[in-house]
């Protein structure tokens, strides 16, 4: 059995057998520099103070924890939403981008390269770069540019250059490839501001550390309101940054069930989904050993989801580890179920969620119906749905026409 991290090796950047730094040699010095700066910054009170100040004064932390009033019909269940949709930028992405942008400055670099799927990470990167005076280049799949027009405009308004990627499937995977190519030519002056808790070490650890306040706040808030820990914490998983940010502080609390919701697209038994942990196999992509979607020869398969932000054929290595050890459970939600939850939340609670977050919500609603005991659920509402309005309108019109 192949294992890249034996117990005797115990290398940094591994989560059990998963993770690592599988990149061309050329990128290793840049990643090691980043690892060093990140480790130093974690111990630097000045850096932490600046990060915390930006989070509260600029981004609007802490975000509220909202008890839903009308949506859950089962009287035994209380469903709380962690409102990352209310964060500046419209999604949880802003948290970790501020952290990485500060690190960019700390490293003396003047430019930022980023990839984006739904455009939320691109928007977050663009706003942080505008704020901190960094030059910003965002790679985005041509197909994603089409379905996320408002976010493309937002990025441009904030001074970012958006570069369409037509290679491959024209989605997030191809945007990551292109960003890595750019970085390997420009690592001297540019930081690659990866948007999720995936990729090579130190990204999965760094992004988690810059997102973990989601779960820490939620824990304090639920203890204040309910006087006890929740029974279940639910988050959607594409690359996995909002989920790991939500899960991290609950991993040690074994009574709390952790559920990651993957995009099942047109069905887990179809070829059209992005449910890497539910249906994928182990392999190496974008710098990490993790679960990926691939054929028998190791060619990467194209993922599919109605939500651009979950449309990715790999997953963060810590999620692979939580899946392997059984600490977290990963399930699939299909496009239609997510679209239903999107509308349900709007109608019942007056909140329009991102299609990504709608996956977590859809599973929570299914789960809520089945409970016979008093149950407290916390869903990470990772982003708001403004960016999805045109796309959902089109999809619903097509459905109506059928």
């Amino acid at each position: 059995m192949t294992s890249f991290n034996n117990n005797t090796d115990n290398k940094p950047g591994y989560f059990g057998q998963f993770g690592g730094m599988f990149v061309p040699e050329l990128l290793v010095p840049a990643l090691k520099q980043l690892e060093q700066e990140f480790n130093d910054a974690q111990k630097d009170p000045e850096f932490q103070a600046e990060f915390t100040a930006l989070l509260s004064e600029y981004a609007g932390r802490p975000t509220p924890l909202t008890l839903t009033r009308n949506m859950v019909k089962n009287p035994k269940v209380k469903l709380y939403l962690k409102r990352e949709d209310l964060l500046h930028g419209g999604a949880h992405k802003t948290n970790q981008v501020l952290g990485q942008a500060l690190l960019t400055k700390r490293m003396g670099k003047t430019e930022v390269i980023a990839e984006t799927g739904a455009g939320q990470h691109g928007v977050a990167t663009a706003l942080a770069c505008a704020l901190l005076g960094l030059k910003c280049k965002v790679y985005m799949g041509a197909k994603d540019i089409e379905r996320q027009q408002p976010n493309v405009f937002r990025m441009k308004l904030m001074g970012a250059e958006v570069i369409p990627v037509t290679a491959g499937s024209g989605t997030l995977k191809d945007a990551v490839n292109e960003a890595l190519r750019d970085w390997s030519a420009n690592y001297d002056k540019a930081h690659y501001l990866l948007g999720t808790a995936a990729g090579p070490h130190p990204f999965p650890t760094m992004v988690r550390e810059f997102q973990k306040m989601i779960g820490e706040e939620a824990k304090v808030q639920i203890l204040e309101t309910e006087g006890r820990l929740p029974d279940v914490v639910i988050a959607c998983v594409g690359g996995g940054s909002n989920a790991i940010g939500m899960f991290n502080d609950f991993i040690e609390d074994e009574s709390v069930k952790l559920i990651g919701v993957e995009p099942a697209g047109k069905g887990l038994d179809s070829k059209e989904h992005g449910a890497t942990l539910c249906k994928g196999t182990k392999g190496l992509l974008h710098g990490a050993y993790t679960y990926i979607m691939q054929d028998d020869f190791g060619q990467i398969e194209e993922s599919y989801s109605v939500s651009a932000g979950l449309d990715y054929p790999a997953v963060g290595p810590q999620h692979a580890h939580l899946h392997e050890t059984g600490r977290a459970q990963y399930v699939g939600i299909e496009d239609d179920e997510a679209l239903d939850a999107f509308q349900t939340l709007a109608k019942n609670e007056g909140i329009i969620p991102a299609l990504e977050s709608s996956h977590a919500l859809a599973y929570a609603l299914k789960y809520a119906e089945q409970q016979t005991q008093e149950t407290i659920l916390v869903v990470n509402l990772s982003g708001r749905g403004d960016k999805d309005l045109a796309h959902v309108q089109t999809v619903l019109a097509e459905k109506g026409a059928k």
Binding site: T2, S3, F4, G20, M21, F22, V23, P24, E25, L26, L27, V28, P29, A167, G168, K173, N177, L180, R181, S184, A185, N186, Y187, D188, K282, G283, L284, L285, H286, G287, I292, Q294, D296, F297, G298, Q299, I300
Partner: protein, 270 residues
Amino acid sequence: MSTNNRYQTKFEALLANKQGAFVPFVTIGDPNAELSFEIIKSLIDGGADALELGIPFSDPVADGPVIQKANIRALKANSNTDVCFEILKKVREYNKDIPIGLLLYSNLIFARGLDKFYLDAKQAGVDSVLVADIPLHESKLFRASAKMAGIDPIFIATPNANNDTLKTCASYGRGYTYLLSRAGVTGTDTQAVMPATSIISKLNEYHAAPSLLGFGISTPEHVKSALDSGAAGAISGSAVVKIIEDNLAEPITMLSELKDFTQKMKAATL
């Protein structure tokens, strides 16, 4: 170290004749299996000293646009690792002596199983394997499987490497050392800029295998300056693959141009 090493034999012969090595790269199966074999033959007939061959991959992050397209063409023509090994066997039959190196991405090896991949490669007549996305510090299992199968593991000496890294590169590598002329991805848009002299002398000091300079090598002048800087030879990829791309509709022209190009580049090593 593998016995009867084709690289060693070749480098010794070149040294005796005061020549450098010219090594062309193409993606196996591009644009299809049949023509790919003819393409590789024309490189050998043109006087290539060794071959660097890619197994196509869906996500070649270290490659620029020209080689990306070659990967896509090969995959569209249903190339895969099995098909590539069949072509490699035919190439080895065609020429028993030329050193053959594979350049590919780690997931293709992992998906087949590391030991099986290296054994199959050995059986297909492959001498070395360079894994584009496996840096030195993650290479342990790949080196172990390569050693077991008698394949030379190739590592990349980069312009940004410190002395410790170059030392490790020298100690892990066999066959030859792939010397990067510059940062970035493969391609001819950005030419080789590095005076590689200082890295080469470091590598020599650490007893590394002979260096072949790659990335941005597209003219006989590039080959000459690679040799002048102390490299044992030069690798040219995107410039070769561009000839394939430009002549997809005219296979006969394609093959003769590939042979001509190889001859011209080889002539610069004399």
